[in-house]
């Protein structure tokens, strides 16, 4: 069996026809058999999500595609939107069919505005193929937090992009408080492949808990930055070799809220839900990079992008940045102070309202874990 891929060409409309032939329950069965997990980073089992939403109470249901792609170093969806938009729309149409939904929304980050004409063309083509579904194109306003599913929904509804309290989850109360399937671009692109190439083929690669091919966008201090497709469970070593990483010091895996993988110690670790977060973003920082400056730019990002709703994230990111700036200036810090901020990092992880706040301190905590002596002078 050849390695499954979501970058091969499919006949337009074939997957949709197959979906109609096997029916909504059949589609869900295939997705469950494929063990597809959400490709936006969170990794929720897609078959389960679609089943819950299908079973939720309510006549009106919606499909939303998260094309906000705001995570630092992630540009895999950009490739899919440019070269496989039809596939994504077909995945959305199939989801609409499974739900009995009449409306499907594409939430496209504003920075991809240049794609508008081509996206609208693909949208119109899909609408012609399944006229019972109306497709809508909504642009974001440049906010990273609107990549969070409930903030995204708030944004489509015309409100401030602020995450909601969960529960309830979008499966029962999402867009306009109706049951909603919201998935990443790549996830929707997997669906036609699973239906056409087969669930077994999809699940033939990967690890016990992470199946199928995955796109990775590799950038930074590498000779060949770009989008790569590898099976889930591929080692970091293999990814770095493919992109020809130049003297890596560490790798930021999973974007700004991801984990640091120290190049010396982590090469055999793999990209999967069991190990290094396989959202797709891989940023390589070489030996010449200043660790604290890199950390400071991550904290800058979070201070900029926090929506400001909840205290741990709004105030925590601000205070962490302040502390990192102190480190950047080379000021001495006491062990007590350092522990204080590490504790703050833990509090942010534990008590923030949404994933942004919960992951904002990850890089801070994991960098200090690996590289404390290089980053900060402890005063006795």
């Amino acid at each position: 069996m050849s390695t499954p891929s979501i970058l091969t060409t499919l006949n337009k409309g074939e997957a949709y026809k197959k979906a109609m032939a096997i029916g909504p329950e059949g589609v869900i069965k295939e997705l469950q058999a494929s063990e597809l997990r959400g490709r936006g980073g969170a990794g929720f089992p897609t078959g389960m999500k679609w089943q819950f939403t299908r079973g939720a109470a309510g006549d009106k249901k919606y499909v939303v595609c998260n094309a906000d792609e705001g995570e630092l170093g992630t540009f895999k969806d950009r490739k899919l939107l440019l070269e496989h938009a039809h596939k994504m729309f077909e995945g959305m149409a199939i989801a609409a069919y499974v739900l009995g939904a009449k409306d499907a929304y594409l939430y496209l980050r504003w920075e991809y505005h240049f794609m508008k004409a081509d996206i609208e063309k693909a949208m119109a083509e899909m609408h012609a193929l399944c006229p019972e579904v109306d497709f809508h194109l909504n642009f974001g306003g440049g906010a990273y937090v609107c990549g969070e599913e409930s903030a995204l929904i708030e944004s489509i509804e015309g409100k401030r992009g602020e995450p909601r309290n969960k529960p309830p989850y979008p499966v029962t109360s999402g867009l306009f408080e109706a049951p909603t399937i919201i998935n990443n671009v790549e996830t929707f692109c997997c669906v036609p492949h699973i239906l056409i190439d087969g669930a077994a083929a999809f699940a033939s690669v990967g690890t016990p808990k992470s199946k199928g091919p995955k796109l990775f966008s590799i950038s930074g201090d590498v000779k060949k930055p770009g989008v790569y497709e590898f099976p889930m469970g591929t080692s970091l070593r293999r990814l770095l070799a493919a992109a020809e990483a130049e003297e890596p010091q560490f790798v930021l895996v999973g974007g700004s809220g991801g984990r640091i993988a120290c190049a010396e110690k982590c090469l055999e670790r793999n990209l999967s839900f069991e190990d290094l977060p396989p959202g797709g973003s891989i940023i390589v920082l070489g030996k010449k990079r200043n660790l604290v400056s890199a950390l400071r730019s991550v904290m800058d990002f979070f201070v900029e992008e926090s929506c400001g709703q909840c205290v741990p994230c709004r105030e925590g990111c601000y205070r962490l940045l302040h502390f990192v700036e102190k480190m950047e200036k080379g000021e001495k810090v006491t062990r007590k102070e350092l522990n204080r901020y590490l504790e703050l990092g833990t509090t942010m992880q534990n008590s923030s309202k949404c994933g942004l706040g919960q992951s904002a301190s990850n890089v801070f905590v994991s960098m200090l874990d690996y590289f404390e002596e290089k980053m900060v002078k402890i005063q006795n």
Binding site: S306, G308, P312, R314, N350, S351
Partner: protein
């Protein structure tokens, strides 16, 4: 919420709680304290301060107790290490961004942030402390002052102004650390469509919102030997001022308050109930005249618009002026009891006291912040002077008494002063939602039929209660000959409290579907007893307790109908003539200003 009970575990013990309740409600029922800040029983769930986080077994992150529903077999820990660390850090983060010191703050001892800092043993500013102001204090409004540097962004004011009152002058602006609560384009409060109801103040956990404090000016007047300082007190503040001294909500201290006020230095202490009775006479007559014109065509009154709506709530009046300016003719032309009294004090009462009106300083004790705006309205000078000089809130007067060290609870009782000595029970119940309606019905029904309302003990129960919009009807039969046009008519009445509920009735009027003849509207949830100037905190139980006190005091009165108040009858005989007569119109009636929803011209008058 269903009645079905499920079993959960809190801190290792098992409890049966209703399915669908929040973790917070379940903990409270079980007797476990979970601290909160952005949560308020009157308001929608926010889930943003994260102080109420608890540990739930099996969940990676801590959960906000206010926003998470219980599930069968849930195991909750309300004070695990993770929880205590989170709460401590969150408090310290808030304090790092909170300007000011407790000693110089009006909410010292009454601040929810201070209380939490005390509960959690905060003894260090872990993340620093704000020592410089970022914003200026906005004291442009007559009623509500904003101090944005003390805001902890709980959003209660937004959820109150938009959610309960449907006025919506506050919202969140900017994002991240720059995020704050603000008015439209940072306009000063005076220029917004704020109706001055002060409900935001009641729910603000800190001193970010407070009333315009005028106690200094009143002290000055009291100290001035050339001035006669007269204070009128309303029933609602009297039912609650004891709370400022640690008493249970609803403990009546009226007679001790009279003594305290004289001890402080007020020259005369008068009862606003008197003019509440006067309002009933005027407004009752006005209603009957409007009905007469509407049903017979007789031109007995200029404006006969029905339904007629009460006009004693200045927050409601401003709400109507902004949102329903085309419906202003529905408002009764009667002034509020406060303003009627003001006009009388500087005319009739001044004469009786043998004091020049220019030497009188007229103060009122009100549950209300909107009264400060009301007494400054340009048209409120029927006496030739500013009819009411200062409207003090319950909180301000509590502060004044505390400053003197007078132990109000140990004082002997004393009565109000003459010549305007007392009011009836009907006047008393103005303080509760439905009270004006009940008082009006007790009199109007008697005028029309010669009999008392057909309710035991004159307690018109259908108009009482805390439901947002209530209605009642009464069929008028065997009426007196001069009211024959009302024979057989079923009169419909509606009561609303909170301007969000008022909007429901006004929308009906605007759509032409209103079936009512007379409507009572109070801007504040609960009526005046829930007013913006009343002791903090507020919640439904406290408001109900204050209502019970007010209705109980009505029962204790000898006179329970406005038309039985012989002092009111004397006033008509000696001075006013007849209800709606020329003198009444001059002193006791007013007109309104259509304002619309655009922000106010800063150079324009209020």
């Amino acid at each position: 919420m269903s009645e079905k009970l499920i079993t959960i575990q809190i801190n290792g013990k098992e409890y049966e709680v209703p399915e669908g309740s929040s973790i917070l409600a379940a903990c409270r029922k079980a007797g476990w304290h979970v601290p909160t800040l952005c949560h308020h029983d009157d308001l929608t769930i926010a889930g943003i301060c994260r102080i109420c986080v608890v540990e739930v077994e099996g969940w990676r992150t801590l959960q906000a107790a206010c926003a998470t529903p219980v599930a069968p077999n849930m195991k909750i820990k309300t004070y695990s290490d993770k929880v205590r660390l989170a709460r401590r850090n969150i408090l310290e983060l808030m304090l790092a961004d909170h300007y000011g010191e407790c000693y110089s703050c009006i909410r010292n001892q009454k601040c929810e942030l201070q209380k939490l800092a005390y509960e959690y043993g905060v003894d260090e500013y872990y993340f620093g402390h704000k020592t410089e102001r970022k914003w200026e204090v906005d004291d442009s409004s007559y009623s509500v002052v904003r101090d944005q540097d003390k805001c902890i962004q709980c959003n209660r004011c937004i959820r109150t102004c938009e959610g309960i009152q449907t006025v919506g002058i506050f919202d969140k602006v900017f994002k991240g650390h720059e995020c704050t609560v603000d008015t439209f384009w940072n306009h000063p409060m005076r220029e917004t469509i704020c109706i001055n109801c002060g409900q935001c103040i009641n729910r603000c956990p800190t001193a970010a919102l407070k009333e315009k404090n005028e106690t200094d000016q009143v002290w000055e007047a009291i100290a001035d030997p050339t001035k006669t300082v007269v204070i009128q007190t309303a029933p609602a503040p009297r039912s609650a001022i004891g709370e400022e001294f640690g008493l249970e909500p609803g403990t009546n201290v009226t007679k001790k308050l009279n003594t305290a006020l004289r001890a402080i230095g007020f020259d005369k202490v008068l009862d606003t109930n008197f003019t509440a009775d006067l309002t009933i006479m005027e407004e009752g007559t006005e209603l009957l005249m409007r009905l007469k014109k509407a049903l017979t065509g007789e031109n007995c009154i200029k404006n006969a618009t029905l339904p007629m709506i009460t006009s004693c709530s200045p927050g409601w009046v401003k709400f109507c002026e902004h949102f329903f300016p085309e419906q202003l003719d529905h408002l009764s032309t009667c002034k509020s009891p406060q303003q009627m009294f003001g006009a009388l004090i500087k005319t009739h009462v001044a004469k009786k006291m043998n004091v020049e009106p220019k030497d009188i300083v007229s103060v009122s004790l009100m549950p209300c912040t909107a009264k400060k705006f009301e007494c400054n309205r340009p048209e409120m000078n029927a006496s030739g002077f500013k009819d009411v000089d200062f409207g003090l809130t319950t909180r301000e007067l509590g502060q004044m008494i505390k400053e003197t060290g007078i132990k109000i609870l140990e004082l002997p009782d004393s009565d109000f002063d003459n010549p305007i000595g007392h009011g009836s029970g009907a006047g008393m119940i103005f303080g509760a939602t439905g009270g004006v309606m009940e008082a009006a019905l007790r009199t109007a029904y008697w005028i029309v039929t010669g009999r008392d309302v057909p309710f035991k003990d004159l307690d018109i129960l259908p108009v009482r209660g805390m439901d947002g919009v209530r209605e009642a009807s009464v069929k008028l039969e065997n009426v007196k000959p001069e009211w024959s046009f009302l024979e057989g008519v079923t009169a419909w009445f509606a009561i609303a409290h909170g301007t969000g509920n008022a909007r429901i009735l006004l929308d009906q009027i605007a759509a032409g579907t209103s079936k009512y003849h007379f409507i009572e509207i109070m801007a504040c949830p609960g009526g005046c007893l829930g007013g913006g100037g009343m002791p903090i905190p507020t919640n439904l139980e406290i408001r109900k307790a204050r209502a019970r006190a007010i209705y109980a005091e009505d029962h204790n009165m000898d006179i329970r109908r406005s038309h039985d108040n012989e002092l009111v009858m004397e006033l008509y005989k000696d001075f006013l003539g007849t209800p709606l007569g020329h003198k009444s119109h001059e002193l006791l009636h007013t007109h309104y200003t259509p304002r619309g929803k655009k922000s106010v011209d800063p150079k324009g008058s209020i």
